[in-house]
Symmetry: C2
Subunit: 332 residues, 2 copies
DNA sequence: AAAAATGGTGCAATCGGTTGCAAGGCATTT
DNA sequence: AAATGCCTTGCAACCGATTGCACCATTTTT
């Protein structure tokens, strides 16, 4: 089916090496042979077989992109950015959907079979052991949206979740809410626990304000809604820090059920600042996570690992900031 | 870095062929050698290099998954389903993000370089020429969410957009709306035009009901909102068929700006029935598109093409149905 | 004009597998 | 006991590329 090097070489009347070199940037070919080869290649519609060349070069330009987060709308933006950033640099994303998978072994084997040059673990809910498993198998890895503290062995890119928790707490306190709650993602996700920790730490400076905690079953609309409905059935706090915009939006829908107006009746602050949060009738006050910078940095790091395989592991942490919209009451 | 066939053969004390055959289902190996090889393989942590074997077998199990639709939340579901369906069958999705790309040539070359076994074009806005380009390059292709009429050369899986247009028109008429409008996606998308055609055809049976048409710039929230704001500034119809749920949701947000209640003040019916449309405070009446069936059928078709490369092209069209929620007024 | 440096080219080995073919081993048949 | 057939195995060629090395033709230096 495909045209091969050999056929081009035959048509151009040169050796296979010459053809190979024509398509290898930086190789030594004279203008004359290059012209002959390019003419023949165009005529035949030749393009080099990347997989065959990977055999000798040891590079496939394939990057494993693994995630388990296909229900949070923020991941539309994440996938869009990742796929574009990778292909802009001539790298190809090989997607692995890890939903319902708890064991790294399978994906490690699978991605090694395809000789990926590196792996990006894009998830805040996969345990650090996943990234670690790739590292141990000798595959360069960066954990995007990962936790820096517990994985000093792999590259991590993301935000300081503890600091975000503090930031949310400060914001709620500054609005004068008399009781606050944390409504986090799944309790086994490091991101959910770190955000809680920061929130609790900061609230400890305000002992007169009671703090409650709860965790939704997933980072999803339904989980956020269900958890907020449960809270509303009891004795809810005056304001909540939801661990993710999608939880916030679920919570907002629960408030609507009870005829409560976000902001004035119950305050909500989210985290992520995804596109949807800007929608007029959601209009969520939230902590902006710089997705674009995080993804660019992740891909940068991938490229650098390809150049320097034994690169010393590093955490790239980006600051977040509060985006004020309509779901918190004004400062007194 | 990786363990090779040769090393396993050496350790097991057999030829390379024996090792290869042990890992090739259906090859002839005695129980004894198989045992020796498997022991050695486990000891070394060997797993075969899929790319190297593709050289001789001509199969990579790589499937190009190309789309330009990273702003419509329905694609979260689409990507989730596609990646899972593919990997369940031992196939690997290689994603190509075609946003802002108008020329098929690049992606064709790129995917041929990686010797993908087949390509899935998952988009209702990419012109048929994309799928066609892969077909012409000798790459098996299925166009999911494609238009069956104009691409008899490639496999198409999806819905009958014209019929959906009719269905929407019938629904609006049955609710007794005295004027109706079509608010479609980008005018160069076949899906937008086909839905319009069906809508117009059906409305022709009701000449007393005036019909208007407009097209949003994209299948996106912002585009739907902007277009509806424009309509509201003039003399809006009593009900609209929006060519996609995401347009509907944008339109709903525009209604909210004007203090209009969907259903009673202005009717909206969408198309897709994405997860979000079920959210309580969206609660969109819409036409359900059977995403799961469409994707399963697409992957089935891919598998069948791998077995029978010269398969006669075929269209698999799935019926849709109206899901009644809260954005149309009740039947009189 | 001779010697040295430079740049271009082809040969052949190699990457990690697969597979057609022929030979060997063993059990079954006559 | 010889002949037949079936399995199993290893050899060696091949898949489509890359690359170290040696060789050759130029050009530059002296």
């Amino acid at each position: 089916m495909g045209v091969t090097l050999k056929e081009v070489a035959a048509l151009a009347g040169v050796s296979r090496s010459a053809v190979s070199r024509t398509f290898t940037p930086g190789a030594s070919v004279s203008a004359k042979t290059r012209a002959k080869v390019e003419k023949a290649a165009k005529e035949l519609g030749y393009s080099p077989n990347a997989l065959a060349s990977s055999l000798t070069t040891g590079r496939t330009k394939l990057i494993g992109l693994i995630s388990n987060n296909f229900h949070n709308p923020i991941f539309l933006e994440v996938f869009d950015q990742f796929t574009r950033a990778l292909q802009e640099r001539g790298l190809r994303p090989l997607i692995v959907n890890l939903t319902d998978e708890t064991e790294p072994a399978n994906s490690v084997r699978m991605l090694r079979q395809y000789s990926v040059d590196a792996v990006i673990v894009a998830s805040s809910t996969l345990p650090p052991s996943f990234a670690k498993a790739f590292h141990d198998a000798g595959v360069p890895v960066v954990h995007t949206f990962g936790r820096s503290a517990t994985s000093p062995e792999v590259h991590v890119v993301g935000i300081d979740n503890v600091e975000c928790g503090r930031m949310a707490a400060r914001e709620l306190v500054s609005r004068g809410y008399a009781s606050v709650g944390y409504l986090g993602g799944p309790i086994d996700a490091t991101s959910a626990r770190d955000r809680q920790r920061g929130f609790t730490e900061e609230m400890a400076n305000h002992p007169h304000v009671p703090v409650s905690h709860s965790f939704a079953g997933a980072y999803s609309f339904e989980a956020g809604r269900a958890e907020m409905l449960r809270l509303l059935a009891g004795d809810p706090a005056q304001a909540y820090f939801c661990g993710d915009d999608i939880l916030s939006i679920g919570a907002l829908s629960a408030l609507a059920d009870h005829g409560l107006k976000p902001g004035s009746d119950i305050g909500i602050i989210g985290l992520n600042d995804m596109e949807m949060s800007r929608w007029e009738y959601i209009n969520l006050t939230t902590i902006h996570q710089p997705i674009k910078q995080i993804i660019t940095a992740s891909v940068d790091l991938v490229e650098e690992m390809l150049k320097t395989p034994d690169r010393y592991p590093e955490a790239r942490i980006f600051p977040c900031r509060v985006i004020e919209r309509g779901t918190l009451r004004p400062r007194p």
